[in-house]
C-alpha cells in the first residue's frame, strides 16, 4: 500500500466523525448563536433579529450577575482546594510506598460516583436543620462537643453559600488531581533528585526547586480540566439545592429560562456566554500546547 492510498484511507476513516462533529458541535453552536440574536420567546421559533439585546439584558439582570459571582467564587475555591489537596495527597502517597496503591484507589474512588449522587449524599450530610431535627455533620459536631463548627452549610447567606458546595466537589475531584500529580511526580527521573541532593539541597529545596517546577504542565492540565467542569457545573448544584436562586449558576438559569419560561433566545445567549467563558480558559491552553509541541 503506497502513501497516497494510506492517506485516502485515513481520510475515509475520519470523514464520518468530521461530518458528525461538524453538524452536531459546530453546526449547533452556530445555530445557538443565531437563536441568541433572535427574539424567540414561546413554543414556536421566532428568528426576528434582536441584535445583542439578549446579551445586554443579561448583564443588567440581577440574577445573571449573581450567577457570575457564584461561578467565580465556586471556581476559585474549587480549583485552589482541589490542586492543594491533590498535590498533598500525591506527595504523601509517593512517600508512603507500602500502601500507595491502596490509598490511590481510595482517593480516586469518589470519581466513579456521579455528581448527582454526590450532591444527594452531601445534601444529607450538610443538613442545616437545628434543634430536635439536627442531623448529618451538624449532629456529628454536636455529639463531639464541637458546637462551634455547626453551621448552615450551603444555606449560608449569599455570597458564601456557594463556597460550601465546593466541599463535595473537592471530595469528588481531588482524587483525580492526586492521580495527575502522582503520575507527574513519578515520571520525574530519580537522577534529578539524587544529583540535587549531592549538590547539598535539602528535602524542601528539592521539592521547591526541582519537583514543583517540573509539575507545572500537570498543574496547567488540571486547571483546564477542573476549570471547565466548574464553569459548566450543573448537576451537583441541582442535586443539592434544586432551583434555589442563592446557589444559582448560568447553566441552571439557562435551563429554567429555556424550558420553564420558553425564553429560548435568552437561554441560547447564556449558552453562548458559557461557551465563551470556557473558550477563554481552553483556547490559550491549546495555543500554548501547540507552540510547545512544535518547539520540541
Amino acid at each position: 500500500m503506497n502513501t497516497r492510498q494510506e492517506k485516502l484511507l485515513a481520510f475515509a476513516f475520519i470523514t464520518p466523525s468530521i461530518i458528525a462533529i461538524g453538524i452536531f458541535v459546530y453546526g449547533f453552536i452556530g445555530w445557538s448563536l443565531r437563536v441568541s440574536l433572535s427574539s424567540w420567546r414561546g413554543l414556536l421559533p421566532d428568528y426576528t433579529w434582536a441584535g445583542l439585546s439578549n446579551f445586554i439584558g443579561l448583564f443588567q439582570d440581577r440574577r445573571f450577575l449573581i450567577d457570575i459571582q457564584n461561578t467565580l467564587i465556586f471556581t476559585i475555591f474549587f480549583l485552589a482546594a482541589s490542586l492543594v489537596i491533590g498535590l498533598l495527597l500525591a506527595i504523601l502517597i509517593d512517600r508512603i510506598k507500602w500502601a500507595g496503591n491502596l490509598f490511590r484507589g481510595v482517593f480516586l474512588f469518589p470519581m466513579a460516583v456521579s455528581f448527582i449522587v454526590t450532591g444527594v449524599a452531601w445534601r444529607w450530610l450538610m443538613n442545616p436543620a437545628t434543634g430536635s431535627r439536627i442531623s448529618g455533620l451538624n449532629l456529628l459536631f454536636d455529639n463531639l462537643g464541637l458546637d462551634f463548627l455547626i453551621n448552615n452549610w450551603h444555606t449560608t447567606a449569599p455570597p458564601w453559600g456557594i463556597a460550601f458546595v465546593v466541599i463535595p466537589a473537592v471530595w469528588q475531584m481531588s482524587g483525580f488531581t492526586m492521580a495527575l500529580y502522582l503520575s507527574g511526580i513519578q515520571s520525574i527521573p530519580a537522577e534529578l533528585r539524587e544529583s540535587a541532593k549531592m549538590d547539598g539541597a535539602n528535602e524542601f529545596q528539592v521539592f521547591r526547586y526541582i519537583i514543583l517546577p517540573l509539575l507545572n504542565p500537570v498543574t496547567l492540565s488540571a486547571v483546564i480540566i477542573l476549570g471547565h467542569i466548574s464553569l459548566k457545573i450543573f448537576d451537583l448544584i441541582v442535586a443539592m439545592s434544586g432551583k434555589d436562586l442563592r446557589l444559582d449558576v448560568p447553566s441552571i438559569y439557562m435551563w429554567t429560562t429555556t424550558f420553564d419560561g420558553n425564553n429560548f433566545a435568552r437561554g441560547a445567549a447564556i449558552g453562548i456566554l458559557m461557551l465563551l467563558g470556557v473558550a477563554l480558559l481552553v483556547v490559550p491552553y491549546l495555543i500554548y500546547t501547540n507552540r510547545t509541541e512544535i518547539d520540541v
Binding site: G42, L43, L44, T130, S241, R246, T257
Partner: protein, 422 residues
C-alpha cells in the same frame, strides 16, 4: 430443508415489516381508530386514575383504541419537552394534558396549537355543571380551551391539632392573627410555619397575595387592573416577608412532603400546601380532623384558589372524532367519578357523588360548589410560563436579599414585560 428455511425467513421478515408499518388509522370514519392521549400520569394514584377513566372510555367507545402516551417525570417537565418536540414536528397526539388556564393558553393557544371547545361545552351542558367563576379562567377572548378533569385547591392551611392545643393556639382567620399566634408558638420552641423549596414559597406567596388583596384584587393582578406597584401589593409583600420569618430555617432543603412531615411530627404547627397534602397525610395512616386539620389559608375563607389538570383538542389532531370522544369522557360525570377518588382530587363538575370521596375531599367539594373560584399562580392558571418564570426569578432574588422594594419593582416589570400590564 433449505427452502423451508427460506420460507420461514421470509415469513419472519414479513412480520417484522408489518410490525414496523404505522398502525392503520382509517380516516373519515367516525369514532374508530386510535386515540393517543398524552400525559405525565405514570405513577401511583394518577396512573391508576387514568386507567379507571380509560375503562369508562373503552366501555363507551368500543371501536376506539386508547393509546396511553404518558411520559414520566414530576409535574410534566420531561413530558412538556417531548410534547414541544412533537408539536414542532407537526405530529401532535390526539389530546394532551396540561394545567388549565394560562399555562396552556399562554403557551399553546399563543402558538396556534389548540382549538376552542365552546361547541363541546354547549353540547354536553358543561356550562351548567361547572362553577361559573371557573370558565373565564380557562378561556381567552370568549373561547374555552380545555376540559378540566380534576380540581385541586391551593389555598389550604394544614395544621397539627395536638400542637395547637398544647400551645393554646387557634386556627388563624387572617395573617395578622397568624403572626400573633406564631410569636407564641416560636416562644414555645415550635416552628410556626413549615415550608419547603422555592416553589413552595411561591405557593405561599400566592395565598398571601390572595388573602391580602381579596378575590377581585388578586384577579386584577393578572389582567392589569390591580397595580403591582401599588400600596396594597406593598402591604401584601410586607406581610409575606413577616410570615417568612416564622418559617423553618432549612426550608430550601426540603421537598413539600418533607415540610408537611414537620407538621405530622409536631415540629411545626402549620403549613400552606395544596390539597394533595391530604393524600400524603392519609397515606401515612393519619386520621382526618384528629391527626391533621385544615382550613382555608388566612384571609381566604369563601375563596377557592384552584388548579386543574385538563385535556385539549390540538389543531390538526390525528383523529379528531376520537379526540372529541376522549374529551367527552374526560368531562363526563362517569369519567370524573372514576378518575378523581383514585387520584385524590375532586371533580371539576359540581354534580359528582360526595360519598365516593374522603373526609377532606368532601369538604372541598362543598366549598367548590359555593366559593368564588380564583386561579393559582404556581400551578399555571393565572400566568403563562414566561411570566411565571420571571416571577420565580424575582422571588428567588427576594429570598436571597429580603428587599421588598426591589421585589415589588421586579414583579411590576415582570407584569409589563408579559404584556398583561401596559
Amino acid at each position: 430443508m433449505k427452502s423451508l428455511k427460506w420460507i420461514s425467513l421470509l415469513v419472519l421478515a414479513g412480520m417484522l415489516l408489518a410490525a414496523c408499518a404505522p398502525a392503520a388509522s382509517p380516516e373519515g370514519e367516525a369514532a374508530t381508530g386510535e386515540v393517543e392521549v398524552f400525559s405525565w400520569w405514570t405513577a401511583g394514584g394518577e396512573a391508576d386514575g387514568l386507567a379507571a377513566m380509560q375503562e369508562v372510555f373503552s366501555a363507551e367507545y368500543p371501536n376506539l383504541t386508547f393509546v396511553n402516551a404518558a411520559v414520566a417525570g414530576g409535574a410534566g417537565t420531561n413530558a412538556r419537552a417531548v410534547l414541544a418536540t412533537r408539536l414542532s414536528a407537526g405530529d401532535p397526539p390526539s389530546s394532551w394534558q396540561g394545567h388549565a388556564g394560562q399555562e396552556l393558553i399562554g403557551t399553546y393557544v399563543a402558538a396556534g396549537q389548540i382549538e376552542p371547545l365552546n361547541d363541546l361545552y354547549d353540547q354536553n351542558g358543561w356550562l351548567d355543571v361547572m362553577p361559573q367563576t371557573l370558565i373565564p379562567l380557562i378561556s381567552q377572548d370568549g373561547n374555552i380551551y380545555s376540559v378540566p378533569v380534576n380540581i385541586h385547591r391551593a389555598n389550604v392551611m394544614w395544621y397539627n391539632p395536638a400542637v395547637l392545643e398544647a400551645n393554646g393556639a387557634t386556627v388563624p382567620a387572617t395573617w395578622d392573627e397568624f403572626l400573633t399566634s406564631a410569636e407564641t408558638l416560636l416562644a414555645n420552641g415550635v416552628t410556626p410555619l413549615a415550608m419547603g423549596e422555592q416553589w413552595t414559597s411561591m405557593h405561599l406567596l400566592e395565598t398571601v397575595l390572595l388573602g391580602s388583596l381579596g378575590a377581585d384584587g388578586y384577579a386584577g393582578l393578572w389582567d392589569g387592573s390591580t397595580d403591582w406597584a401599588g400600596p396594597e401589593v406593598t402591604a401584601a409583600l410586607e406581610t409575606f416577608q413577616q410570615v417568612l420569618t416564622y418559617v423553618n430555617s432549612d426550608a430550601s432543603t426540603l421537598s413539600w412532603d418533607q415540610a408537611a412531615q414537620l407538621v405530622v411530627d409536631g415540629d411545626a404547627a402549620f403549613t400552606i400546601m395544596g390539597d394533595w397534602a391530604d393524600g400524603f397525610f392519609v397515606s401515612l395512616g393519619l386520621t382526618p380532623e384528629t391527626d391533621f386539620g385544615w382550613a382555608p389559608a388566612p384571609g381566604t375563607d369563601g375563596l377557592f384558589q384552584f388548579l386543574s389538570d385538563s385535556f385539549v383538542l390540538p389543531v390538526n389532531a390525528k383523529n379528531p372524532e376520537g379526540a372529541i370522544a376522549w374529551l367527552t369522557v374526560a368531562g363526563s360525570k362517569e369519567g370524573q367519578e372514576a378518575f378523581n377518588p383514585i387520584k385524590g382530587s375532586i371533580c371539576a363538575r359540581t354534580d359528582c357523588d360526595p360519598a365516593l370521596f374522603d373526609a377532606y375531599l368532601q369538604s372541598a367539594i362543598a366549598d367548590w360548589n359555593t366559593d368564588t373560584v380564583v386561579g393559582s399562580l404556581t400551578h399555571g392558571v393565572v400566568a403563562n410560563d414566561a411570566w411565571k418564570s420571571e416571577i420565580d426569578t424575582a422571588l428567588g432574588l427576594f429570598l436571597a436579599d429580603g428587599d421588598v422594594a426591589a421585589f415589588q419593582s421586579a414583579l411590576a416589570t415582570a407584569c409589563s414585560s408579559s404584556g398583561a400590564c401596559q
